[in-house]
Amino acid sequence: TVGAVALDDQGRLAAATSTGGRTAKWPGRIGDTPVIGAGTWADGDCAVSATGHGEYFVRAAAGHEISARIRYLGETLEQACAAVVQDDLPRLGGTGGVVAVDKNGRVALPFNCEGMYRAAIDGQGRATLAIYRGE
């Protein structure tokens, strides 16, 4: 699954996700990507795109949950993403990760598996391009 999130110079946030699904999935199976609020979410606070075992992202309403934690609990983007990716998803049995950006240009790239193909340039111009854990 591929995806991107962005913040533009007008303060607008957007998210996009695209996938071929899972190898040998049942024909007709629908994953998290086209389920708005699961694999893809954007509002005035943050934008989120997810990759991983889609059924668990649907059950966790992962993208919307990250936004709700920011809005209602006052968490930072990093805290909200960590709560969903490192706590909620593993509790359900789900593996994968998200990329997210908030309205201030902060970026989060958490995952709970061995690695995630990822790249970013945050609001301060700091660039990241990595595959493995620890990079």
Partner: protein
């Protein structure tokens, strides 16, 4: 206002010891191209929506990644692609599922958001809408990669010998 962008090309069992240098270089180059495609839009004053679509199109066109051209196969040997977009400034959304011949599913998701009264379209209805919108369509051969096909054959073999669906190896699952 600052500009920012982040993208992913999949996640799973990605170990340094299991990827050769050439493959790793190709993946990193693909990620860099996609990042630049979106960031260039933002640097030019374009919208976040245009930027994420540019990045995702670059990844969909790269057969290394499991989307668009590099999509994995279903149990019956076909491809069913999905995509979604969301514009945070209007909390507007569009998504598509069950696509087999749309070159860039993300652009169809955007068309659903911007030019239909719906949020999600699937299968034949989504592809009919793509044709009406004049989006680029491709034959099945365009989306075929040997690596994904071999992954399907291996998985079918495992299932035929009593393997459980949920025990699919991580590296095979998402291509």
């Amino acid at each position: 206002m600052p500009i920012a962008i982040a993208l992913h090309g999949g996640a799973g069992t990605l170990r340094r010891s299991e990827m050769d240098a050439a493959a790793e270089q190709a993946y990193r180059a693909g990620l860099a191209r996609a990042l630049e495609a979106g960031h260039a839009v933002l640097r030019a004053g374009g919208s976040a929506l245009d930027a994420v679509c540019a990045s995702v199109c670059a990844l969909e066109d790269d057969p290394l990644f499991n989307a668009g051209r590099g999509s994995v196969y279903t149990l019956d040997g076909k491809q069913e692609m999905e995509a979604a977009v969301m514009d945070g400034s209007r909390q507007d959304a569009g998504s598509v599922t069950g696509l087999g011949c749309v070159q860039n599913p993300v652009l169809l998701a955007r068309a659903v958001m911007e030019r239909s009264p719906h949020v999600t379209l699937g299968f034949a209805a989504a592809e009919d809408f793509a044709r009406r919108e004049g989006l680029d369509m491709r034959p099945p051969e365009y989306f075929h990669t040997d690596k994904r096909w071999q992954a399907l054959l291996l998985e079918k073999e495992r299932l035929a010998s009593g393997g459980k669906d949920e025990d699919i190896p991580e590296d095979r699952k998402h291509g």
